[in-house]
């Protein structure tokens, strides 16, 4: 994983030769980009000018895409700070100390991603209500995230990581790590980042693009952590250790559970609003499929049943095609407004 980057030093309580120590060091070195400095250095001007020049439907497309990121980053930051940190202490895992160290870096970077997106949307995309003020971890998602099924993936993440933090069981940890590191970070975030990189020239957002280069690099380390964690669990299972039996099935089943709602994310920022920026739902789906194969089959050596994957995505796609997405969105926006009222008056 990190050949050539291993520490020249040795400690007593910390294993400096652990791959998680190396990941921690890489996080210290690379993950400390400063969001506010980025704002100062690049500024919002060009991004605001490009935003103002776009058609309303094009703005909505970007607004939806970043809404998915903002709710997702808030969720992963919250779960990293709480549940993942506790999972790293599990006796069924190796290198607990170094994993805990790495988790501080992961948590820091996820909070920075939330920080960037939250401020960016407020500063640049202020021409309409972004519905980003309420906290998704208190039950209020951005309406477009709720109107499609993307929120289901995040709900699943909260449940799986909370359970794994509680039981510290290898099967539960495998499910949580699959959802969090492979499905959310490894597929959703990478597919979304890829869409941002394919914005047409008229959607010129230098600050957004610059930040996403940092965000993608951070996510790359998180995905590596997830892959290595799952490999560790699979090695124990393949060695025949009773406690770990069922890890592989748990990983693959978590994919089958999440993948239809992951496809919703692609739909949400493309075909749900007729794709004026031509981000191409087909491209999104194919990219997602390639990432699934790369992580699950090639890297982890699993045998994903693609007919199962496509069948559940097909069923979901046929379902959402029957929706009146604008009607659903209006319904969730109304609910959001109601919650704002509740939040404003303290719940009275």
């Amino acid at each position: 994983m990190t050949q050539g980057l291993q520490s020249q030093y040795s400690g007593q309580r910390v294993n400096t030769q652990s791959r998680w120590y190396t990941l921690f060091q890489k996080g210290v070195e690379l993950g400390t980009w400063n969001v506010e400095k980025l704002f100062d250095e690049i500024g919002f001007e060009q991004d605001r000018a490009s935003w103002a020049a776009l058609e309303p439907a094009e703005r909505d497309q970007i607004r939806y895409l970043l809404s998915g990121f903002l709710d997702g980053e808030r969720e992963v930051a919250g779960d990293a700070a709480t549940n993942l940190q506790r999972i790293m202490q599990s006796p069924c895992l190796e290198s607990n100390t170094e994993k805990e160290m790495y988790m501080t870096m992961l948590t820091l970077t996820e909070h920075k991603h939330t920080q960037f997106l939250d401020v960016y949307m407020e500063e640049v995309m202020d021409d309409a209500d972004n519905y980003t003020d309420l906290d998704p971890r208190r039950g209020t998602r951005i309406p477009i995230v709720r109107a499609t099924g993307l929120g289901e993936v995040f709900e699943h993440q909260g449940l799986l990581t909370a359970k794994a933090a509680s039981t510290r069981d290898p099967i539960d940890i495998a499910k949580a790590a699959t959802n969090y590191h492979l499905n959310v970070e490894g597929i959703l975030a990478r597919v979304g980042s890829s869409a941002i990189s394919r914005f047409p020239p008229r959607a010129d957002f230098p600050l957004l693009n610059y930040a996403f280069k940092f965000i993608s690099t951070d996510e790359g380390r998180h995905i590596t952590h997830g892959i290595e964690l799952l490999k560790e669990l699979l090695e124990h299972e393949r060695a025949g250790e009773p406690q770990y039996q069922g890890v592989e099935r748990a990983i693959v089943n978590t994919l089958y559970q999440d993948v239809p709602y992951m496809a919703d994310f692609g739909y949400m920022f493309t075909d749900a609003l007729d794709d004026p920026l031509e981000l191409d739902f087909n491209e999104v789906l194919m990219r997602g499929g390639n990432l699934i194969d790369g992580m699950y089959n090639e890297t982890l050596g699993l045998d994903v049943d693609y007919m199962e994957v496509i069948s559940v995505v097909r069923d979901r796609y046929l379902e959402i095609n029957e929706w009146d997405i604008e009607e659903r969105l209006a319904e969730h926006e109304q609910q959001y407004q109601q919650k704002r009222g509740v939040a404003a008056d303290g719940g009275n």
Binding site: N282, L285, D293, M307, L318
Partner: protein
């Protein structure tokens, strides 16, 4: 005739198998009715430059070698005298052997891509039908190292199957592309959906339509896998 892949005959047999395959018919019910359901199979990287006539399967070349070995001295002389310039040059280069052996060596060491330049009208008489047919097809259908096959698929039927002489003039809903080796693996039973997911094959077209008909896509691959096939390369 042996079903050589790639060839018109293989594609025709594939069309027949698809239309006789109840599972395919059922799983592709409605396919292409509200969208363009036709496919182009793009077979890239055919080793036409790297492969000589002599390296084609024995089943194809042995009768040709036998015909030349058993031909009279006079016939060999006629073939040498009527040799096209490209073959004449190769004959000049193949020194130190008896005339018959020089002719055989010159012909069998010719790359497939250059076959049309060395096969004279006289020599065609000696070519076995299969070999002549396949060399003709490669000459007509190979665009550099690529062959394009077209399938008109609609509502459980394959209405037309053709190898394309001029692919630029044909429009299809989907283009499935891969290296020749990958196509042979597909025909040997590899999973087409897995091949696309892993980027061993490339699919261009409206993926959302394919998602709705995954069993049809699978059955197309399986049908190819069940067809008795002999690979040309």
């Amino acid at each position: 005739m042996t079903r050589w892949f790639p060839s018109e005959e293989w594609l025709e047999a594939y069309q027949g198998r698809l239309n006789a395959n109840e599972d395919y018919i059922e799983s592709s019910d409605g396919w292409g009715e509200e969208f363009l359901g036709s496919f182009i199979f793009e077979i890239n990287g055919l080793p036409l430059t790297e492969t000589t006539i002599g390296e084609l399967p024995d089943e194809l070349t042995a009768p040709f070698r036998t015909a030349l070995t058993e031909a009279s001295e006079a016939r060999i002389e006629t073939l040498r005298e009527t040799a096209p310039p490209a073959l004449a040059q190769r004959l000049d280069e193949a020194t130190g052997e008896p005339p018959r052996d020089r002719l055989i060596t010159a012909l069998f060491d010719t790359a497939i891509v250059n076959a049309p330049d060395v096969v004279s009208t006289e020599l065609r008489v000696e070519l076995p039908d299969d070999l002549e047919n396949l060399l003709d097809q490669l000459d007509r259908y190979a665009h550099d190292d690529t062959v394009y096959a077209y399938l008109d698929l609609e509502d459980g039927r394959c209405n037309e199957a053709a190898v394309l002489e001029d692919p630029d003039t044909t429009t299809a809903g989907f283009v499935l592309s891969a290296q020749y080796q990958q196509w042979t693996e597909l025909i040997d039973g590899a999973d087409v959906i897995e091949a696309v997911m892993s980027r061993d094959m490339s699919l261009d077209g409206d993926i959302t339509n394919v998602i709705i008909y995954p069993e049809a896509a699978q059955e197309m691959g399986d049908t190819a896998g069940r067809l008795e096939t002999t690979f040309l390369f």
